[in-house]
């Protein structure tokens, strides 16, 4: 195995592109090193992207936030402006692992690891986030929901790296929230999860919404029916029940050591309802 730590994304992409063996990007390493330890992967090349300046910054601009691919969960949690604009995204990123893992883990890594249970992804999908991808053929921008194509699989081509993830500009009266279910209070992988992002109109009715579920299908599910169920409402009990039902209908989970089909389906609906209420409150709804 070789270890490289280039200082530009271009060079990193070139290194990955020309590697004949198995090449991996190292950001926080909280997934890659675990897989190396277990012997699940045996890299010939590891490209550490943390020395690339563009991966290390959180940038606020008129078009929203740009979060570098190597920015740790802990750094996101310390950025007040980001936390204020996108509390759901930040809390999702901050739920990944312990404080120790928070010191290293990244949203881009969480996304590229392509686990159906990744905590930050439902929140990013709900937020309509986009990934800036750099590859041998240049740059492209991809919607976050289009990055993951299946468990452990992404649409990134050989040599392509996510350099940053962008969150759109926050309009007034908006809020987002993310909730997951785990058996303990910390340290577990999500059994199921829900991210909700919404904007209210001047009367306090939900104007637009996005609802995304995690760990209930091979990839994160964007549930448009669930969003429709609450648009035009103030989240009365009936619309929330409809939202839960729509979420349950969108689930196609598996039975495994972490949960059953029934449990995941039912609780995904519960979490979506609870997350919607939090998002609504954050948007200023009463």
């Amino acid at each position: 195995m070789r270890y490289e730590a280039p200082t530009s994304t271009k060079v990193a992409a070139a290194l990955l592109a020309k590697e004949k063996g198995k090449a991996f990007v190292l950001a926080g390493g909280t997934d890659l090193l675990v897989r190396m330890k277990a012997g699940m992967v045996e890299p010939d090349l590891v490209v550490d992207i943390k020395r690339i300046p563009a991966t290390q910054i959180i940038k606020k601009s008129d078009s929203g936030f740009k979060i570098g691919a190597a920015v740790s969960g802990a750094s996101m949690g310390e950025n007040k402006a980001l936390k204020k604009a996108w509390p759901g995204v930040v809390e999702a990123a901050n739920l990944i692992g312990s404080d120790q893992v928070q010191g290293r883990c990244t949203m881009a890594g969480n996304l590229c690891n392509a686990s159906p249970a990744a905590d930050s992804v439902p929140a990013l999908v709900a937020a309509k986030a986009k990934a800036a991808v750099v590859g041998p053929k240049g740059r492209r921008t991809v919607a976050v929901e289009d990055v993951v194509t299946g468990p452990g699989r992404t649409s990134l081509k050989k040599g392509e790296i996510i350099e940053s993830i962008s969150l759109p500009k926050r309009v007034a009266k908006s809020g987002d929230a993310y909730l997951r279910f785990i058996p303990r209070t910390e340290m577990d992988i999500a059994v199921c999860s829900a991210g909700v992002n919404l904007t209210l109109d001047s009367k306090g009715l939900v104007k637009s919404a996005r609802v995304a579920l995690g760990a209930v299908a091979p990839t994160v599910v964007l549930v448009e029916d669930a969003a429709d169920a609450i648009i035009g409402t103030k989240l009365d009990d009936e619309s929330l029940a409809a939202l839960s039902a729509a979420c349950e209908a969108a689930c196609s989970p598996i039975n495994d050591k972490r949960g059953t089909v029934e449990f995941r389906t039912e609780v995904a609906g519960v979490l979506a309802r609870r997350a919607a209420k939090i998002a609504y409150q954050r948007a200023g709804g009463k």
Partner: protein
């Protein structure tokens, strides 16, 4: 396989080592630098027994490559006591019997110090969540939480006494 040459700082001391590119910081500390305070309880970032700081950030050293700490500042449990004097957290752990077998203790101390460095007056809940990445199987965490709480209060008292000069004890 060729080794990676790394220059870094561990507990304030300049250190150089050569390690295979795939070797973890934990193995470097233990097997190359003779710093055995960090322990391998799981090797997968689930137990926190290998906790150290890298550039002030709390991490599991089993999830960091030795090659990554080039130019960084690494802090381990061996660097907590200054000279002959234990860090307040260390003395409170002894005073409150916050350890039984002690294998998790170095990790808890490093994590607790990271907590108190950013939050000098944590609530019980904040202590519990900040230490959730450190597994202890002996104590039920009761006396550990009490020791961290007592250390925070002691540090606050000491800081008031000595003015703002001494941040530590």
């Amino acid at each position: 396989m060729s080794g990676v040459h790394v220059s870094t700082t561990v507990n304030g001391d300049a250190v150089e080592f050569v390690c295979p590119p795939g070797e973890t910081l934990l193995d470097v500390l233990r097997n190359r630098l003779n710093l055995i305070g960090a322990k391998e309880g799981c090797g997968t970032g689930d137990c926190g027994a290998c906790s150290v700081t890298v550039d002030g950030r709390l991490v599991c050293s089993c999830l960091v490559l030795g090659a990554e700490v080039e130019g960084a500042k690494v802090g381990t449990v061996e660097g907590m006591a200054e000279g002959g004097e234990l860090h307040t957290l260390q003395s409170k752990f002894i005073e409150h019997a916050a350890l039984q077998c002690g294998i998790c203790t170095p990790g808890f101390l490093v994590a607790a110090k990271a907590l108190l460095d950013r939050n000098s007056d944590p609530s019980e809940e904040e202590i519990r969540y900040a230490l959730a990445g450190n597994l202890c199987r002996c104590t039920g965490y009761d006396k550990i939480v009490r020791a961290v709480d007592a250390a925070a209060k002691q540090l606050a008292t000491d800081a008031t006494k000595s003015g703002k000069k001494s941040k530590r004890r």
